[in-house]
């Protein structure tokens, strides 16, 4: 504590300098006077006495200086002094300052933007009380890869009620809602949550109250709902009177009891559920299976728990595992012999693991980690290029400031003091760049977020928080040190005499091939080339993906989802609704075709179904589950998938009629080889004795189904008229022109048929495909931008070095020209010294790219990570830019007029 007191007193004295100076002067004066008085008393004359007093006292100014050093904080005062000086210097050369600050703003800003995304995706904790106490419950056995996190409701109850190591065990499950209020219907993503959800997380209501355990006691008896802050604003305009009112969820009245606070998005970073309802209402919204809440077989819940602060993690895990096994034993006993021994053993071999839950269920993390780390490497490399570039700029500038340095050396500044002054200047520049970088970071972050689909981006929009700002400051200071160090060290080596002469060192000494300047050029070239090559590869890969034959025509298809089953429609009613809607839509002007499908193309979701096929004997462990989709007639014409043989489904294929199925070419070839599949029979019935009840009536061309990168999949289609149960389906409408223009017409038709039925996830097929390429587009966009930026910086740097050396050697060039050197030889002279640096840079850059790009392998599509053409292309591009960058200033050298130069001499 004592040092704090001393520091405080010293700090205070900095700000009371003038007062303390006067004080000191008066005190010393009084001392001297008293001393003089004494001498007068002993008989000296006043003048003699004063002189004697001064002798006796010692050096007054020296004492003052010592007191000053003792009084203030010499470190801080020197810093202020240096800063003032640096500011003055920078103000005097606004052009230089602007270039440096702009370069740094781009470099630091880009890094900050990516870091802020990394922060919210990879580092940030859930916005709840003490997130570090949260754990995610998972279980794994020795065989399975990774852990499973889905639990049954009875298991949840057992863990919640018997555990002594947790301060609350909560569970949740996602659910889709059709929300109706004031005659308007829309789709919303919601959550079923246990009654202790908000309590266990430690979230307080923004408005009204939140769910409590009392709201989650009896099955089906709690028609209450809590809105998220964002949804409350978006849907209800932030109207506080909504609390206590009823809204319709899937057509059922539910009372809104409160609003959760802004910033709270639940337990999953990539989701922001709009509405939360008690777990006990599950069967109202998800009626199938009816024994969902009792059955140990249905695992559909994720569990998060808050560990008691005084319980060690290992102890909590062991204790929970015991409970888990007790519950498993009880369940297996209840199921008795219906569970096979093999399964029983496998179930009992699994163990609970408690994972860090401070970030909730971090699913987005897994998806975003790779692109984020890649992007961060790219921006970090650009920043390094920028540093090398600025170091060069500063070197050139320091040559111009030799006089100033000479003066400072001459009046006694040591090398340490000089380095300090120069580093203060470059760190100041770094901080200025960082400050400007805040704007760049904002701009870039919003640009990046636009690549991410809306449902993922909610929680990425977080403002730049303290951690991000901390990163920005540290990055600025480190950058400043990095580019300032070389010039500072060089300047500190100057000798007074050499500097005072104001002479530039003789050309022979200054133009070594491995001069610092050339090394910096080498670094820039070597860093830029991998960036350019990466950009080329990403570009190539994206073009491959975009130009891929998808098997369908992606232009002019409008897509939207409908889920009448949520509103309690029977399958029969759904069928007639769909059929009515398709009839109405097909009659609209501008509609070429319309249909429904259970799995929309390249949406990332798919269904598989096990089949038995006529005349095909599967091996023991053969995968007999091709992709499957339920479609309406007209599906193939709305997507433009050609029918190779047989026919499309038609209205005559009804529930009463014979069951029919359409297969793709891969399916047909896999099961029937070259034989004609039309007329063959298959079944989806599990029972091995069941008849093959479906007849193949059509063969269609292969297409891409789940993602653009997939290999050909076996795929079959059934018709919705013959399906026993129907859930959400995607409407696809092929239009004559821009598919987006049809949206309102379609919505009006749906509203006309049932006002409580929302049409959601409206988009177009082209957008849907583009959304599947987020990672690729993002990486292409960023690497191109930064590859170009790095190249630009490197070439500006190169140009600067050549220009500088030409300027320094003006005299020499003049003499050479006077002696008859040709323009060509002068040009060669000016450029040649850069050749080794550039060539070495290119070589090292190629090698680095070759090594680094192995990390890109799985991101690329249709192009190898060491694609020769791309490597060559990027190398040639960079070499030509470098040649041009060197040529332009070198060319100026040939315009030197020997007469002028020599006359000056």
């Amino acid at each position: 504590m004592e040092w704090l007191c001393i520091f405080g007193s010293r700090l205070r004295s900095i700000f009371r300098k003038r007062h303390l100076e006067g004080d000191l002067k008066a005190e010393l004066h009084s001392h001297l006077e008293m001393l003089a008085d004494e001498y007068v008393r002993r008989g000296m004359s006043p003048d003699q006495a004063r002189n004697a007093a001064r002798r006796e006292f010692g050096g007054v100014e020296q004492t003052k200086e010592e007191v000053r050093d003792q009084r203030g904080l010499p470190f801080l005062e020197t810093l202020f002094q240096d800063l003032r000086y640096a500011l003055r210097v920078l103000r005097k050369s606004p052009g230089f300052t602007a270039v440096v600050v702009l370069t740094l703003a781009l470099g630091i800003g880009a890094n900050t933007a990516i870091f802020s995304l990394m922060n919210s995706v990879l580092l940030k904790s859930l916005p709840v009380r003490n997130p570090d106490e949260l754990v995610v419950l998972r279980y794994a056995d020795a065989q399975a890869e990774g852990a499973n996190e889905d639990f049954s409701y009875p298991m949840y109850e057992a863990l919640r009620d018997k555990s002594s190591v947790f301060d609350g065990v909560l569970t949740r499950s996602g659910v889709d809602f059709n929300v109706t209020y004031a005659g308007q219907s829309e789709f919303a993503y919601g959550e079923l949550v246990s009654g202790n959800y908000y309590q266990a997380l430690g979230v307080r209501p923004w408005l009204g109250r939140l769910l409590s355990p009392e709201d989650d006691r009896t099955l089906g008896a709690h028609p209450v709902a809590v809105l998220s802050y964002g949804y409350w604003h978006a849907r209800f305009g932030g109207d506080p009177s909504i609390v206590g009112k009823e809204i319709l969820l899937d057509g059922r009245p539910m009372t809104v009891i409160g609003v959760s606070p802004p910033g709270f998005f639940g337990t999953e970073m990539s989701r922001d559920p709009a509405i939360r309802v008690p777990m006990m209402m599950t069967l109202v919204f998800r009626p199938v299976p009816a024994n969902r809440m009792q059955s140990a077989r249905h695992r559909w819940l994720t569990i998060l728990a808050r560990r008691k602060p005084d319980i060690a993690a290992a102890q909590a895990q062991a204790s929970t595992d015991v409970l888990y096994h007790q519950a498993l034993d009880a369940q297996l006993n209840a199921l008795g012999s219906s569970v096979k021994t093999h399964d029983r053993e496998r179930i009992l071999a699994s163990h609970i693991q408690l994972d860090n839950g401070s970030q909730g269920f971090a699913h987005l993390r897994g998806e975003m980690q790779r692109p984020l780390v890649l992007m961060f490497s790219v921006t970090a490399m650009v920043l390094l290029v920028a540093c090398a570039n600025l170091a060069n700029l500063l070197l050139a500038r320091s040559a111009k400031r030799r006089k100033e340095v000479a003066v400072r050396l001459a009046i006694g500044a040591g090398p340490r003091r000089l380095i300090r002054q120069w580093l203060t200047e470059s760190i100041l520049l770094g901080l200025l760049g960082g400050a400007a970088g805040i704007f760049v970071a904002f701009w870039m972050k919003s640009g990046l977020i636009r690549f991410v689909p809306a449902e993922f981006s909610t929680n990425l929009k977080a403002p730049l928080d303290a951690r991000v700002m901390g990163f920005l400051v540290i990055a600025s200071v480190v950058t400043g040190l990095l580019f300032g160090l070389a010039p500072a060290l060089q300047i500190s080596r100057s000798s007074v005499t050499e500097a005072m002469r104001g002479e530039t060192p003789s050309p022979a000494s200054g133009e070594r091939v491995f001069s610092l300047r050339n090394v910096l050029v080498f670094v820039q070239i070597a860093l830029s080339l991998p960036l350019l090559i990466g950009a080329g590869l990403f570009l190539h890969s994206l073009r491959n993906l975009r130009g891929l034959d998808t098997g369908f025509v992606k232009e002019n298809v409008f897509l939207a989802n409908l889920n009448p089953s949520l509103n309690g429609y029977s399958t029969e009613r759904i069928r007639s609704l769909y059929s009515d809607l398709l009839t109405r839509l097909r009659a609209l002007p501008g509609v070429r075709a319309a249909s429904f499908t259970s799995s929309s193309a390249i949406s990332g979701s798919w269904d598989q179904e096990g089949v038995r096929v006529e005349g095909y004997q599967p091996r023991q462990d053969e995968n007999m589950s091709p992709n499957a989709a339920i479609i309406s007639p007209g599906y193939f014409s709305s997507l433009g998938i050609p029918i190779v043989a047989g026919r499309d489904f038609a209205d005559q294929d009804t529930a009463a009629g014979p069951k029919v199925v359409i297969v793709n070419q891969t399916f047909a070839h896999y099961f029937f080889g070259d034989a004609n599949p039309i007329g063959k029979r298959i079944t989806t019935d599990d029972d091995p004795k069941a008849p093959l009840n479906m007849e193949i009536i059509g063969l269609v061309k292969d297409a891409k189904y789940v993602s653009l990168r997939e290999k050909p999949r076996r795929h079959f289609y059934t018709v919705l008229a013959q399906e026993p149960r129907l859930f959400d389906m995607t409407l696809q409408v092929r239009t004559a022109d821009d598919p987006r223009s049809i949206g309102d017409l379609v919505r009006a038709q749906v509203h006309d048929l049932d006002a409580n039925l929302p049409l959601y996830a409206t988009t177009t097929l082209e957008i849907q495909i583009d959304n599947s390429l987020i990672e690729e587009r993002l990486l292409t966009w960023l690497s191109s931008l930064f590859g170009m930026l790095a190249t630009l910086l490197a070439s500006v740097g190169l140009s600067g070095v050549v220009a500088f050396s030409v300027a320094r050697r003006t005299r020499e060039i003049g003499i050479r020209m006077a002696l008859g050197a040709t323009r060509r030889s002068i040009l060669r002279l000016a450029i040649s010294q850069m050749v080794p640096a550039v060539c070495l840079g290119l070589a090292v850059g190629l090698a680095a790219a070759y090594v680094l790009n192995h990390f890109l392998g799985s991101v690329l599509f249709g192009v190898g990570s060491t694609d020769l053409a791309t490597f060559a292309g990027a190398g040639i591009l960079l070499a030509s830019v470098a040649a041009l960058a060197a040529y332009l200033p070198a060319q100026r050298a040939t315009r030197v007029d020997p007469v002028v130069v020599l006359r000056y001499e």
Binding site: E2, E27, L28, H31, L35, T63, V67
Partner: protein, 114 residues
């Protein structure tokens, strides 16, 4: 011949100042200097100016405090006085100094005896 004069040992000036203030009560810089010279019977070489950084150091540590007042012959002077913390510090420093001095005496005496 005048007795040989000793330099003020590094670190002892603080202790001397504290002791002086304890013995005489509030005193200005001039008074402290005179008192030290007087007690040491001129055997201490004291550059009076060096007193001031030491006084400031003691103020910063909170061991003494300062206040402007009037001297005996009515000159404005800054008076220093011991604080409670300073009194405690004086006690511990005196003790440790005495221990050190005794130790040194024993060590040097031992060398002579050998």
């Amino acid at each position: 011949m005048a007795p040989p004069r000793s330099e003020v040992l590094q670190g002892t000036l603080d202790l001397i100042v504290l002791k002086t203030l304890e013995a005489l009560g509030p005193l200005h810089g001039y008074g402290i200097a005179q008192r030290i010279l007087q007690v040491s019977e001129d055997r201490l070489k004291l550059n009076q100016g060096t007193l001031y950084p030491a006084l400031l150091r003691l103020v910063q540590r909170g061991w003494i405090s300062s206040k402007w007042g009037a001297s005996e012959n009515n000159r404005k002077a800054k008076y220093y006085s011991l604080t409670r913390a300073g009194r405690k510090q004086l006690l511990t420093e005196t003790e440790s100094w005495e221990r050190m001095a005794a130790l040194m005496a024993r060590l040097l005496g031992g060398v002579e005896g050998a």
